[in-house]
Structure formats: C-alpha cells, structure tokens
Amino acid sequence: MTEQRKAVALISGGLDSLLAAKVIQEQGIHVEGINFYTGFCVEGHTHAIRKKDQKKSKRNNALWVAEQLGIKLHIVDIVEEYKDIVFNPKHGYGANLNPCLDCKIFMVSKALEWIRKKDFDFIITGEVIGQRPMSQRKETMPVVSGESGAEDLLLRPLCGKNLPQTLPEREGWVERGGLYDFSGRSRKPQMALAAKFGFEDYAQPAGGCCFLTDAQYSVKLADLWRARGSKQYEMDDIMLLKVGRHLRPAPHYKVIIAREEGEGNFLQGYRKQFVSIKTISHAGPLALIDGEPTAADIELAARLVARYSQGRDADLVELEVMDREGTSYPLKVEPIKPHEIPQEWHI
C-alpha cells in the first residue's frame, strides 16, 4: 500500500487558496491548512468594533474555507516576527506600505518550518502568475520558492503547468496533468473552476485581507512612524489606526476621536493608557490623545472634541479630561470652527 502524502496549504480565506487546496485534495493528498495572523488581517476587527457593522457576518474566511474543504486549519500568530518584514522589506513596498513579496517569502518559509516539524511532504499556495502586480509575477515565482528555502517543495496548483516541475510531481505524488495553467488578472478561470467544484459562496476581497494595502491606513501608519521618529508599532497601535478620526495638530501629539458608539466603547478600554476627553454638557464622542500633550494642547484637543459633539454650535461645551492615572477635571471650551481646522491635521 502506498503511503498517503501530506501537504500544507496556505489558506488566506480567498478563492485561490480554496481552489489550490481542493485541486490537490482531488489527487488523494492529505491536506491541512495554515493561516498566518500578522495583525494586519483586520477585516473582522472593524466589524467587531463599529456598532453599525455589528449585524454584518463576522465569518472568518480562512476557517470557512477549511470547513468547506473538510480540513484542519492551524492559525499561527506571527505578529512579532512580522514586524521586521514591515519595517525592512528587502524587496520594498508596493503602492502603499504593503511588503507583499517579502510577506509571501516569509509565510512560505514559516510553512516550510511547519512541514519539517510536522513531517508533511510539501507546501501549496494559491498563487497565480500575473495575478498581483508585486508578488505574483513570473519573475517573482522563483524568488518566493528560492528565498523561502522551500525550493521544489512549493507547488502552485493553479499555475503549476506554467512552472518547472516540483518534487511532488517528479516523485509521482501529484500528476502534473491535474494542475492548471492560469495566468493574468482575470478571475474567470478561477470562477469556472469554483463552479466545477460546486463552490458558490466564496470571499473575493479586493487587494487581499491585509490593511497594509489600504492607502488611508498606510498614511496613518507612516504618520505614526514619523511622529515616533522610528519605525515601530505594537498591537494596540495597529488596532487604534483602524478606529476613529485621527487629527494631528502638532508633531508631538494626535487626537483620536470616536466616530460612533461602538468606537467609543472600544476606545474606553484604552483610558488608562492615554489622556482621554469626554463631553459632559452635550452628547459627544470619547477621544484619546496619543503623545505628551501640554495643557494648551489638551485645551485645543477639547475644542476639537467639542466640534464633533452635539454642542458644536453652542458657545461653550463642558468636557471631562482624564489622565492615565484616572484623575479627572472639568474643562469648558468653545468648539473649534471648521475653518480653524487645517486640512493637514487630518491624517
């Protein structure tokens, strides 16, 4: 009896990784999934935070894909290790702060570590030549397999016919004839294959699930690095960049103002880490001040918070300022006028 070979599939939760894993399952290979959590796969977070999104489906697409395939899914926290990829991408950034090629190389190298530890035989990804302008080009395919160390243990079932033979093909574990030759940005071949396999409901995230591909998010991250004088972040930073209006009146501090109740509840959890401001005399948002504000800075921040409260047209709005130790004091300010807020304060 021949030994059943085992492959681990990188599962992002999108259609390509779903199909790649299915193609290999169809060849009698035991497949398990691996999903890497970088901290930037925050699609579900805003749904969890914002009240208006709380009725939206909070399905984790990677788990959903694994369930469709009937495979185990291993979710791996790589938040700390991933920082070096974000700070110093050898192959540079894409259109925003997305280090896509370095990211792919890193994830494949982590998958290689995993298969060695778990005694699996090879790695599958849903990559397609020409699908993505930075990381999925004909020239980058050997870069990913080479620099990750995976070499010919990396099989891309959706475009394998356009690539050199891999070990699983040479050894006869996988038939090359059962692979595909997809290329380019068109999604039609994938959609046709999904229909053939009977998959009707699948995620099609534009730009993937990574917030580093988002222009607005990248601007906020770059601002954070500039303000701190170096490229660094913690998980709380990543989360807070997703929440509220961010205004930076001066280099040494910025104000994060909740846009709705859900965000206010979320920011509430950070009141011991930041100076916070809340309106008292009128309904209004909770705000945090990130940085080391002076008394004059706090007063200006309070005027901004008042501007976004129900008291925006009042002569004076009363607010409560709380420091990190929980000591609070009241403050009455005149709401700032829209023309007094320079556009460049908005991050």
């Binding site: 969890a48 935070i49 984790n60 788990l63 291993h74 979710i75 926290d77």
Partner: protein, 75 residues
C-alpha cells in the same frame, strides 16, 4: 472531568481563536475549557474552529459584554 478557564477578553478575532487553539494543545481529551471573550465574532469563529479540529462546543452564551464558549476537548 477537569475544567479550565481561559481569559480572552479585549482580544479581537482571530486572537481568541489562537488562544483557544494553543490552550487546547496543552489539555487532555475530555477536559472542559471555558473561554471568556469580548469580541462577538468568537460566537462564530470558535465553534467553526472546533468543528474542523474535532472538539465539541458544549455551550455558548453572552453575559452583558462578555461572550462565553464552553468546549470539550476532543481526541
């Protein structure tokens, strides 16, 4: 049957799932794990993770702003 509690409050998905996964890796089959979370997404994600990895969800409930998932560890 031993019972273990996991505090996954203030974590957003998928971190509570990862904490459950890592905790279960250290527990014997039959152990009951109670995960206390604040992200409502766990009500979908932890049961989904349990289904594909062979563990049984005994109970899910919400208590004010907390979401609790009780799991019996599988083989």
């Amino acid at each position: 049957m031993s019972r273990v509690t996991l505090d996954a409050r203030r974590l957003l998905c998928p971190m509570p799932v990862i904490r459950v996964q890592d905790k279960i890796a250290t527990l014997a089959p039959g152990t009951v794990l109670e995960a206390i979370c604040t992200d409502p997404g766990v009500m979908n994600d932890i049961p989904a993770w349990c289904r594909i990895n062979g563990h049984k969800v005994i109970e899910t409930r919400s208590d004010r702003a907390e979401y609790i998932v009780v799991i019996e560890v599988g083989e």
